[in-house]
Symmetry: D2
Subunit: 315 residues, 4 copies
């Protein structure tokens, strides 16, 4: 609201001169939105989408929501982690979890898509092949992840200041970060039964990028790592945004910066029988805006990468 | 050698004007060193200390070695991880592992001290109380750690360049980083029997600081976290460099920057029965030079913090 | 040579999966290059292009050279600043200075284009309008500029290490940086007579981006800043990569990161009668690779922005 | 006020365990302050010290003020740059500008000291010798300076966020930053008559440190740089915090980080007859807290470096 009537190119000067920079920021009005839009992206605080999404859906507008409001299928789990009752259960029942590689068919038919969190995107993509093929014991999963500072949003509070984040590294939200149930829900589906895991996020002294370092015990400690890599390769065959790195290479957040790529490495710790999966994404593009665009493409009958065919990392 | 005859203050201009800045860098000569020094610090590449330390010891000079050459008690383990046979077994048999809080008595009587690695310092201090009191299952230990770029030294190679490290985060050395056996050896002593663990280091886009995030299953998943914290507090009572953080606070590398402090937080993941220990140190001071000075103090009959009484973090 | 036979996508893993990632790096061979290429980009050390360019031109291959070898029209000035005689004077006589906005017509007809340095690009674009319109006294020009670390290239030497550049700011090369004569030459042409100026570069703790802060006395200290801005606006009318910022806005390197944009602000210091011009570019794209591509487009009869129509800054 | 009753060590956890960490933060009360303190440091917003300082002085408490309220001797200049009339003219008349090297005698006798701004500290120390010895034309002075983000304070506003400052470089406040009249006032005293200059500050993607790059025309363009350096060396002889760098060396902010040092290099641009002075300080220590402590030492009859004898840069 504070920016209403300004151009997008004034709000974000780096956009000046580009197509769309002259779009005017306006105060949200449901009726007006419904008249103008076939599809709306909601980037609003937790709880607000509970009110806005059903209204838009009722007016025939498809919705992609960036918040957690429609990510957790069980409204009781929502209340447990977010402290408020879920007040849009009908919409919730129709929502699809928007991970394009895993749910493309459902997303194509959805009117409401819950855009995944950034940490869940990296965690789920990292573990999907291993759980689908029952390679690891779900009770032993630990996800240790770190994110660039943009993951915390643009709120002007002390912990987001330059002097607090620069030249510093720390965990936060442990041991009960709100992305935990979202990760458990989607991984549970892949595993075929509910699971509980440990997830610890950290904040990095850099702007963009997430690296998840994931640990789990192999069902078969003797399985050679080459066989595991083959299973991963087959699982992700044909997915252009998934890059299973060659043996010996490890993901770097700089290599996916500003792109839809998800870089994955599979290691085996022979001494302990653990699988170590490393997974890097850009938290803003793959973990938020770009992923929302991919979902919008699917919901609109377009190719998933429409408009992003040449999206290249910029380290 | 390349810097011989220069003053320390010329080599490191920030030292100019300070006491000691006029010390001349000279080419090493054992006889000369023995005539001038009671104690020598060896900061030489792996393998070199195998030759230098016995020579100095034979001349009556006490030695603190920064390399891994005298950290592993079993010469076979050394050969297994470093690829070369250990050629100074007599010296090795007399070496003491230089973690002041755990080995002060032995260090005081030692002529040869192996200065611990930076990751092992954080890992061992983090886990010591839990293993000594048998709080966790040693088979489930995972150490996920991240270090500032100074941990890699000052070698001019591509991976150490600004443009490779800045705005980037990645793991390295996994799953067999050379600090692993050193951590296992010291933790095994605390646990009372050998153990095997998973250790994954990462490189941070910042200069200094290590944060270790450590996971292990509690023997008793019902043990309240307050009781665990009490055990840690009792274990470290009287150690001024160990700061067990108040409940709710998490360590930040910036808070220990340039100091001997080791900041520790103890969390319990009630949902999975895991203990999560977070441990921050400065890799250069606590993890290297400062720790060496503390060891030198002990070996010289001084208070462990002599000359470092007012060493304060500089975030 | 060290990377010969590797794919581009192996050398730069962030390119894997993108068009061109399978291009093989090969050892340079003039005959082979002439058979395969209509145009060659030379990114070789100073002095090497003196040998390579004439050879390629003789074989009918157009050349864009990234070094300073063909930027200085006067071979004596070259020898004075680079310490070696210029050994390709014939080629030099035919070379065009590749600043697309200023020299498009000549670039279109050129067989040899000297791709401008990054600092000169920012400095010349910043001052062009003021000198062409005789707004300032050329004897009073001071260019104070700062560059991201990528400006120094990828050579593994101590000053390029992360720990030397991070959390640090310093000048270098002053008071005789080699980009000085190149800036003076091109600005002298715009001013209509030779000029001498002061140029001081600094190195920033960040990867990419140049900001030039330029000072000069106004010929007419009473000229209102609005009039000066109008002159700049008219001078750059129709140039899509030049963004004259709205009054009150100042350039930020993040706003041009990864793009061809050159953001310019014009200020007047009423108290001293000085004009202050601020000019931001991305040193790698606008200051090197992107600019070379723009030149190649012109030399090939294509639109200057062919393939870069949607190149957008990525802060 | 928001932090009242908390310990200093809780507010700044890095201080925990150090002497003074148990000091309680309390709400300011003049009567209580006067009963407890001989000297007060005021670190309050501009305008607030106008009220507080006279009150404390009237109660016999010496005052060191960090704001600009008592830095400008002429109340009309204050009103012109700060937009409000100066309401503490009597106190102002007694205030001393707290640059220890230049005003030690006056500071020793002062009850009210205006602690200099960080940019003015670097600018004045850089130019003092040149102006005192009439080496340069005051009308040609340009100060181009850059500061770490801590210079902007700890206010939670958008421009201070990590994602706005990281990986970015920009000027701000130009062409009328409020530190300008303070620099002009003190330099005018050294020059012997009023002067007007151009000052442009920039914000760096790092926490601490200021580098000022200062330009001015030499009165005698033929004067050899060695003679200029000798004049600087004589001017600063005996000042332990002033380090005139050896020929060929340039100041780096990392070399003064966390210290009272002011590193100065003197260059001559032979081609233009300009003097270039580079001057680096730590904006928080030399430019604020440490300098205030030095002033407090002088006002209390102690050695200027009392308690800071061993303060060493920590890069």
């Amino acid at each position: 609201r504070a920016e209403a009537e300004r151009d997008l190119g004034q709000f974000y000067p780096f956009l000046a001169g580009l197509p769309g920079a002259d779009i005017k920021i306006s105060v949200y009005d449901a009726e007006h939105a419904a008249a103008e839009c076939e599809l709306a992206f909601l980037a609003v605080p937790a709880g607000t989408a509970l009110r806005m999404a059903p209204d838009l859906l009722g007016r025939g507008v498809k919705v992609i929501d960036f918040s957690a409001d429609f990510r957790l299928e069980d409204p009781d789990v929502y209340q447990q982690w977010y402290g408020e009752p879920h007040t849009a259960r009908e919409a919730l029942a129709s929502a699809v979890y928007g991970l394009p590689e895993l749910n493309a068919a459902a997303i194509r038919n959805a009117n409401l898509v819950a855009n995944p969190g950034c940490y869940p995107t990296a965690s789920i993509l990292g573990l999907a092949a291993a759980l689908k093929h029952d390679l690891v014991d779900p009770d032993t999963i630990i996800i240790d992840a770190a994110s660039g500072a943009s993951g915390a949003g643009r709120k002007p509070v002390i912990p987001n200041l330059y002097c607090e984040i620069s030249d510093n590294f720390r965990a936060y939200g442990a041991p009960r970060h709100r992305h935990t149930p979202e990760i458990e829900q989607e991984l549970g589906k892949l595993a075929g039964s509910p699971l509980t895991l440990t997830f610890t996020p950290h904040i990095l002294p850099m702007k963009r990028g997430i690296l998840a370092t994931i640990y789990a015990r192999l069902r078969d400690p003797q399985m050679p790592v080459s066989q595991i890599r083959d299973i991963f390769a087959a699982f992700w065959a044909g997915e252009k945004w998934l890059r299973l790195l060659p043996e010996g290479a490890l993901p770097e957040t700089a290599h996916v910066r500003g792109s839809m790529y998800c870089d994955i490495a599979v290691l085996k710790d022979d001494r302990t029988g653990r699988l170590i999966i490393l997974c890097a994404i850009d938290n803003l593009c793959r973990g938020a805006a770009g992923q929302a665009l991919a979902n919008a493409n699917l919901m609109s009958g377009l190719a998933v990468d429409c408009g992003m065919e040449n999206l290249c990392p910029l380290p």
